[in-house]
Symmetry: D2
Subunit: 434 residues, 4 copies
């Protein structure tokens, strides 16, 4: 026990509570056939909650945590103690981490591997003792200066090799800890300037690297899902995994669309010029929706603000697309969100998660009800009903040709008339649920 959260009692479901409590998230309440906890699959992100110090490009650490700067294994263990205390207070079923979050980097590659394995032992013990499960693990291939020009896409082949060694270790640790997914976020897989960049070469490197990660996953018997996390830019000017559509083209190129899915983050969707629900719906349509990083980007700020989600109607639309795509299988709701740097206190960290979990719960419940009542889907089906007609189906079938369709249109002298898209009526309908 770390003692850091000793003033804060475990949070429970109590809609009438005046103080800290879940007012909407009731883990055991059954919705769509399973408990909310299994529907939402909440995870805490180790990095934001236990590693980030409150700095930004114009100022340094604001937070005062007893385990900072966590540059020794002893402090890393103290941090783990605090983290697991925190997981217990929230009652979350999952957590997520990067290697870099949980152990200080060693003087050598070997020492870094060793330290990660030692911390994994600590985690394993805590997990066995009732701690949460691992939603996903990942390797941080972007913070150290060796990665400044990319990891798999680095112009230096040794960085590619170094990355391979690191990913192998973290993937195996993830496997050992029962992780349900493994994530690759290409923080530096992109470029700062086209003038020094060979995109074709770097794309090839990225494709081969990912293929080998998939192969290794099978070799070691890891049953979890490999996930790519799209982001358009920041830290680099342009990141290769720009958005869902871009990742899909990349996967197709290397024949990996059946092996790899996406981990979609609200903030990254916004930065790419999309709504969160767009990215989710597209991934659903393409069959590559894996998991989500739930947070909120400030619409007026042009960088990744990673705020805790706080807008229920938006959250409802997100979960609606997830449910339309069948809900989570190995994926879940990871809070890739950080406190504002002025939120200094332990209470802030707990309250931020509690509020976010409630926002998600409200959104999810609205989404589930919308789906069950089927009004929205009924209207959608009606809009496309014409395509159910055999003549219409035939136009999309293999034998169809432009000239045959054109001949028929000309012969019929068609003059199709538009019908209302009813957007405002649909928006009103959604507002009856949220």
């Amino acid at each position: 026990m770390s003692g850091y959260f000793s003033d804060i009692a475990p949070v429970s479901y109590d809609p009438q509570a005046e103080g800290l409590a879940f007012r909407h998230y009731n883990p055991d309440e059954v919705i769509l056939g399973k408990p909310m906890a299994e529907n939402l699959r909440f995870a805490v992100a180790y990095w934001h909650s236990f590693c980030w110090e409150g700095g930004d490009p114009f100022g340094g650490r604001t937070f005062d945590r007893p385990w900072f700067p966590a540059d020794t294994m002893a402090l890393a263990e103290a941090r783990a103690d605090a983290a697991f205390d925190f997981f217990r207070i929230l009652g979350v079923p999952y957590f997520c981490f990067h290697d870099h979050d949980v152990r200080p980097e060693g003087a050598t590659l070997a020492e870094s591997h060793d330290r990660l394995n030692r911390i994994a032992d600590v985690f394993a013990q805590k997990m066995a003792a009732g701690g949460p499960k691992l939603l996903w693990g990942t390797a941080n291939l972007f913070s150290n200066r060796r990665y400044m020009s990319g990891a798999a896409t680095n112009p230096d082949p040794d960085v590619f090799a170094y990355s391979a060694s690191t990913v192998r270790t973290v993937l195996e640790v993830t496997h050992r800890l029962g992780g349900e997914n493994y994530v690759l976020w290409g923080g530096r897989e992109g470029y700062e300037t086209l003038l020094n960049t060979d995109m074709k070469q770097e794309r090839l490197q990225a494709g081969r690297f990912l293929s080998m990660v998939v192969e290794h996953k099978h070799k070691i018997g890891f049953k979890g899902t490999i996930l790519i996390e799209p982001k358009p830019q920041e830290p680099t000017k342009h990141q290769y995994d720009y958005d869902v559509a871009t990742v899909y083209g990349f996967l197709k190129d290397f024949g990996l669309e059946g092996e790899v899915k996406v981990n979609i983050e609200q903030g990254h969707a916004i930065l790419a010029g999309h709504s969160f629900e767009h990215e989710l719906a597209l991934a659903g349509a393409l069959g590559i929706l894996g998991s989500i990083d739930m947070n909120r980007n400030d619409y007026q700020s042009g960088w990744d603000t990673d705020q805790f989600p706080n807008n229920v109607p938006e959250t409802a639309l997100a979960y609606y697309e997830i449910l339309r795509a069948g809900g989570f299988t190995t994926g879940g709701t990871n809070f890739d969100a950080k406190l504002r740097r002025q939120s200094l206190d332990a209470e802030d960290l707990v309250a931020a998660h509690v509020g976010a979990m409630d926002v998600c719960a409200r959104g999810f419940k609205a989404a589930a009800q919308m789906l069950q009542e089927d009004r929205l889907e009924g209207l959608r089906r009606a809009r496309y009903a014409g395509w159910q007609h055999p003549d219409a189906q035939a136009m999309l079938a293999p034998g169809a040709s432009l000239s045959a369709i054109a001949d028929s249109a000309d012969a019929r002298g068609i003059d199709p008339q538009p019908v209302s898209g009813r957007q405002e009526i649909l928006e009103n309908l959604v507002n009856r649920y949220v």
Copy 2:
């Protein structure tokens, strides 16, 4: 002869001229083995220069052209007269048009076809008499209210059929006029709200439609290139052909990446959050670079401003990527640019094109010299030189595995050190050419 431009003499190359002249564009000057005219392959866009009336969402027509409103065939011919006069004044080798630009829509589909063919006869005559060639033709499947919910992606199968008939006619007219490409810009192939949209269905419709266009092209013996023009949004909230990477994934999905290329517009690249040179370089790397719509979007305006290009350093970077990809084959430089709505006079239209052609010529000449002198490419090759080593090549070859690479990295105890990316030095180098 229309008389509209009767005060304006044909523009010629004269670097010392005080008045209207090309100061940089010398069509006959040989660069990289061919005349500038063949390198740049300039085209005038019929729609902006002869159809747009100067309106915007907050006000109507400002231009006063004798052929407006061009709602009769006689006025359409008057417009054609003016257009070909204009082409002659500029001496451009190409023009581009939509069906909708050149003839008033008929009361029926058949009449629309017929009118297009009649105008095509007029064009053919003028082209034979020394007019420019056709860089590309295209069908406007977005202005008429029947297309308000999409053309190929419309929920109404009859609109799909109507679009097929229209595209067949325009493709065949393009073929008849010797067009070198055929473009599809999906102005309404997207959605206004996800709430009424079935993206999977619409994607299928778009894929089948494009496949049939390709098939029809071969059937009629059209040797030109089929081009898709990416744009992220506007008029719709989200357009399916968002950017080059998105189009690539779509082409891969339908097995069309060897059949279809992209027509990239500077303004659309900007709206998608990319630089123009990024989109060109990516298309080059993916082997789908076809043609360009040259213009300039205001970086501070969030809509498609379609201004004439006026920044030489940016233009140089664009042509540099085009040259790195091998230069134009069937493609060219189409000015998809319109006058500001306060630029009322015939002289404005001529001067805008002359200035733009000079800006392109300056950019192209700088790009050609950069490529010939090979300094930039030399530095790029040096940066990736490590990947020429057989051990490095082996890591990307089919037999490689994550575990083998990791074992080797561990055994070697590598600690790769970063080297400078030299961005500012490269930017300085470029500035010596522009």
Copy 3:
């Protein structure tokens, strides 16, 4: 009676209704001491609902209204009939219009004046017969080509004079109809390019013009408020009334900060890089908050989308700032919102307003409760409590000097420690109300 809405019954408050009804807006419910109708003061915008044809920059009219194109006085009266039928169905207490919305422009300035006065007679009759009141009138000084380079800021003094004549007439009509405000939106008061613009001269023109409008208001005994509506850009590249802060500086420059207030639009706030609540809070702090144009801009679209509001939490924050500033006096909630161009039907127009009024009502009720319960304000006051200390007050008082404050700080050897800003806790608190 127009007959256009004959299928649609007047909408009433019925929280349990299955069909078209107000579920949250109960005009007679008393909140904060007055009925909701008087708190919210809803108005319908004539232009979007009865003039806009569904066009956008890439396509023309989609709506099919019997009064289109409204280019005769008879059609203008038919439109007025439909508009007042619509007002009655909604039961809104107010409407707003531009001169340009309600009458076809005349062949001469005199005829335009005359036509406006004739339509004003029609309105007066309908208003006397139980129609809504006029929240504000305004002159359209941006659609006609004469205004393409500005109205008050035009380089041509005759356009300035023409604008003066037009504003006089519309201001007097507004006064005659009992309008409670008069709005100036400077749609073309800005520039397309700095290269041809004299900002100092144009600022002087704008300042003098506004000063004369204020003087004329007093001369004719108009008791309503003169409002400027900020917008950063579109249609022009840069508009002089960029945002609230910019307007404030302009008013100060011409000594008008006590005479003129602002009409703040959500969509314009977003386009200027601000949140709606920011603009409202700033105007409140500066004492110039007048009225609002309620709508919603798509956060992913860079132009003015003018959608109906549909996000309750955002609406709640907006009304919270309005209430903190004392609530509306002469101002109100004008729906400067238009249907999506695919929403073709009369029912769409009614439903869009009903949904929007409900969203506003929900937001307002949450805001009122937050204010009454005073938790948020209590926390805010506590944060600044240190400034209540006399020593702190003295630092802000006239006699204070940098050297005295610095001497004291040095002598005391202060080392101030940060305290949590509690942002997430405050956001959670807000979420308990919405």
Copy 4:
């Protein structure tokens, strides 16, 4: 001598040089009556070039400088040695610094003051020995955690007092070193959330603080200019000194518009949705143009990228507005630009500045020639010529009234016709100079 730049010779003007040289910046060349060095008044920014370590939000230090981490006075002196070596290599006439850049913060306020004074002694000696002059000094009131909620606008009065003490010391040091300006950039003078913010109170604090700084300047006899540096956001969500127009309104409110000018940064202008030349032209029109921070923001990145300028046409437009406003008096061209974090080498730092100085020199020379040849200004004057007429002047004069102008317009039956704004022709004209 630091030895850090020992491999690099002083850079001189040599248009034909192959290696590192000024190709365009010739400090002694007389333009518009004075040497280029006096026109451009270049300054190096201490913070980016000697303090920034290459970190970003996703990774730490990449640069390897012998004086890092500069947390002792000895290392601070080693850094000063390197900085002055660098100034000598470039031959720049000015430099700029924050207190925080040049000395490690002390354990107490008093020690911080003392350390700054000791470093100032070092600077004074180096400046006397031929080093550059001080363009401006400034206090860093944003990096330390005590400022996380603002400096002058902090809810804690002690932070206000601490800031006053700090500014007094830095202002006096600036005065002692002969600084020609003193800058205030309100890095944390803004808010993260409106929910905990009292904008009216914070505005009052900021106004009083600035008033006292101005008073103190006079008290100590500092003849330099007090400058505010606008920025819209980052690090905070909203910064009070948003842009030039906002600062102007603030200055007017506190009667400081005759005392304080603005230091305009290209990157900040872009982030606020303006062009650089807009902010310069507006400040010129308002009489508050002071100095510039020259850099370039990536148009596709939503945060402050602080790149070295590299686009000559844009730079030309900026200097053109500066020259139109009369050129610099106490202000100058400070490179508030940092290397990309992959540009590791000493040579990168030198080359980045050399390239930037050349880009500025090219832009300045083009601007000067445009101004001298007066074509652009001639066209601008012609556009507004109508306002020279006595009747037009009378409309703007004090006695004018809306009703008199309207009566005259009505009587004359005016129907003003638009004339071309000639934007493209003007852009072409500019392109003849750049």
